[in-house]
Symmetry: C2
Subunit: 210 residues, 2 copies
Amino acid sequence: MFRNKIPDVVIRRLVTYLRILTDREAGPDDYISSAEIGDLADVNSAQVRKDLALFGEFGKQGVGYPVIGLRDELIEILGADRKMYIAIFGVGELGTALARYLTSRRETTPNYRFVIKGLFDVDKSKVGKEVDGIPIRHIDGLGEVMAASEIKIGVIAVPAWAAQDVANKAISKGIKGFLNFAPVRIKTPPGVRIQNSDVTSDLQELGFYL
Amino acid sequence: MFRNKIPDVVIRRLVTYLRILTDREAGPDDYISSAEIGDLADVNSAQVRKDLALFGEFGKQGVGYPVIGLRDELIEILGADRKMYIAIFGVGELGTALARYLTSRRETTPNYRFVIKGLFDVDKSKVGKEVDGIPIRHIDGLGEVMAASEIKIGVIAVPAWAAQDVANKAISKGIKGFLNFAPVRIKTPPGVRIQNSDVTSDLQELGFYL
């Protein structure tokens, strides 16, 4: 199946399956059933089998999927073995929390692929300081950092009113994907991808069931 | 359609549609097409029409949906007009950022429904302090706070190793839903709902396309 033909929702589920398989301690002879994956991923087992069948026949009837084999296949499908450089825009509480989280995940997870290559802010009282050893730079220095290491993902942790402007600057320097925590829709040219992470939307979804 | 029969993915999209309609300034005669909603929600227009048709005939052929009418319908479907009390567990950088975010959303958004009723930590150096006027309490005081106001949602912002224990305590006091930011799967009894918000999964999904 061609990479650009896989629906977004399937990619989202594959990421969840990979997470489940990575969390599990497993040896070369350990198998996991579609029912068990589905249970952990909150998806029915037929959907799990259908998603995985898109990429080949990994499972064995009545036995399930080899944990390590399937994990490695998912890593390859998702490209999850490629290192990826990140910049965080906005080093307030959220930006700082994200920076520390990513640093600690990298320290505790073998081969953790996301590496912070820059922290950016416009506040002069922050520029020059560090978070976990990573210096905070003025956003005008983004081009220089990009020249030294290819940053693919920008994490937007600025207030809503500043988000579009920050995204525009980052796009003009060549950043192609954003994880946006600002509670606002950001407009982007074709070829640039935005993923929104919005606490209010998460709470709305949860609230529906309560 | 019965409330408990609506698939999770549909609820997720309805939340996105509601957000799009809420973001839009509109008068009583303003309409929006399924194509426009789909474009903003990153969903195709047929899917938008199909999702909304589950709940009745809101749209007019060739004109679209009345912005205010559809928004009000979605608020009703999602129960998004009910106030909902929240507790945040873990008042580190992430918990503090979330508390400030929710407080500021409530100040800037009319009828913002999510109200923080408690901040909890176990760190004695934090207990007794405040974030935006909300006191930080020891988690052992949760029962007392719950007796005074029904907290429905617990936001888990503690380290991974503490998450299950915190969830167990909160469940024992009657909290029925969690938004979990700890990078770990939490086990819950039937009837308790967990929504995971995981930065690494968001980055994995984004990384697939870059």
